[in-house]
Amino acid sequence: MEGEILKTVNLSAYYGKHQVLKSITLSFPENRVTAILGPSGCGKSTFIRCLNRMHELVEGARMEGKVYLRGKDIYEMEPTTVRRKIGMVFQRPNPFPTMTIYDNVIAGYKLGGIKLKKTEADALVEDSLRKAALWEEVKDFLYKRGTFLSGGQQQRLCIARALAMKPEVLLLDEPTSALDPKSTARIEELIQELKKTVTIILVTHNIGQASRVSDFTAFLYLGELVEFGATERVFTVPRDKRTEEYLVGKFG
């Protein structure tokens, strides 16, 4: 197997006394798409939120275990540094309504007070929007607010915003669940393109999406990692009965 970039060891997560993740050990191969598949409420979102230290922002939330980015414990790094290296896109598109499209793309720099030269910023905006397959659609409206964009365009703007930080890993938390089928198809296409430069971890409860876009699949059920492997193998010869039942639609 190719090099691993991110790894969790015995990762458990809690909200108060309620345990939502049970000792998950999992490695993510570099420049591949790994789908985290499972029914609603199985802890998928909590899991990826532990990977960029967003989980700890919730009152009463805590975690145990280790997460390593290229061998370094992310819980010994600054959370802000971790979040710049491991970007995230959310379920609902959430561009900043107070900023222009241009500023949205470089929002990470603006918020963090990181100065960019005008030429640098211009190049970064164009590059990120191109990578997010949005450049052609918005290049004439860069200095307008992004609120008039469609849901799918807004989501790609959020992807561009995350890419502008030049992350090593991109976490996508059900990025198409609020979108129509056409926008969903565009995002799925985009994911294929993006994995050349960035490792992608995709949370989804959509079995078809996992099979279409991912190289590896981890099946989570009730906070437990049931099965992990190459997507083709997991989908054709699941080793665990629960995986099989989920894939054929017995629950979820």
Binding site: N52, M54, L57, T80, T81, R83, R84, G87, M88, F90, R92, N94, P95, F96, P97, T98, A107, G108, K110, L111, G112, G113, T147, C158, R161, A162, M165
Partner: protein, 288 residues
Amino acid sequence: MKKRGAFNFSLLVAALAVGTVLIAAALSMTIASLPALRAFGLKFFFSPDWDPVSNKFGALPFLLGTLITSFLALFLSLPFSLSISILSGEYLKGKKISSLLKTLVDLIAAVPSVIYGFWGLEVLVPLVRKLEISLGVAPYGVGIFTASLILAVMIIPNAAALAREVIELVPSNLKEAAYALGATRTETLLKVTLPYARGGIMAGILLSLGRALGETMAVTMVIGNSNTIPKSLFSPANTMASVIANEFTEATGDLYYSSLIAIGLTLFVVTAIFGVVGRYVVNRMKIK
């Protein structure tokens, strides 16, 4: 059906009554202030002389008194009202202590203004006098500065309550987006939360200003009631509201009486202008 018609009719009557009262008040004030406005013309607003003995009336000292005390009060209260609203709307959001803080701030608004006036006389005036002595200015104790201090306390709840509400309503997914980009809590507050809430914050500020412009009792008790243009922040002065409250009972001549009503009309117009302009600004700042 018929019952419903009667109900709707009574709603309409109530709605019309509100408008009628407002228009009637404005009209009767305009009519009653005509003698003064005819006698002095525009000079009424620009003349610094208010001299009942020689029947000369100019409202400039009071216009200035109102504007200076109100804006100074706004300036003094903003750091407090903004801090309170950020604290309870963001940092303590959803916690018990936040609702306790909210109740306390609302209580500030519930205290009758005459009590603030008394408190000002008993507590603030001696303190300001000490300050004036140490600064080497005439130690009146009462004056613009004291009135502004009292006003500042009184208007905190207006801005704080509204600002807290809009800060609380900032969608959490926007804040999460900022955190996910590596922003700290402070950066998120300053560059995401507050810009998003700015329309409501502005509305709260204007509400405070409106309250300060019209506040009468407390100001009358501590401003020193001097009808001259204030020379410094510590000068005794009068606002439009306080001069009316002070001199209404002794306004013997017709022109004197009419001049006071003209001041009332001016106050009415000034508050209305701030209200309308404010609403326009707030609408422009709203996030669509």
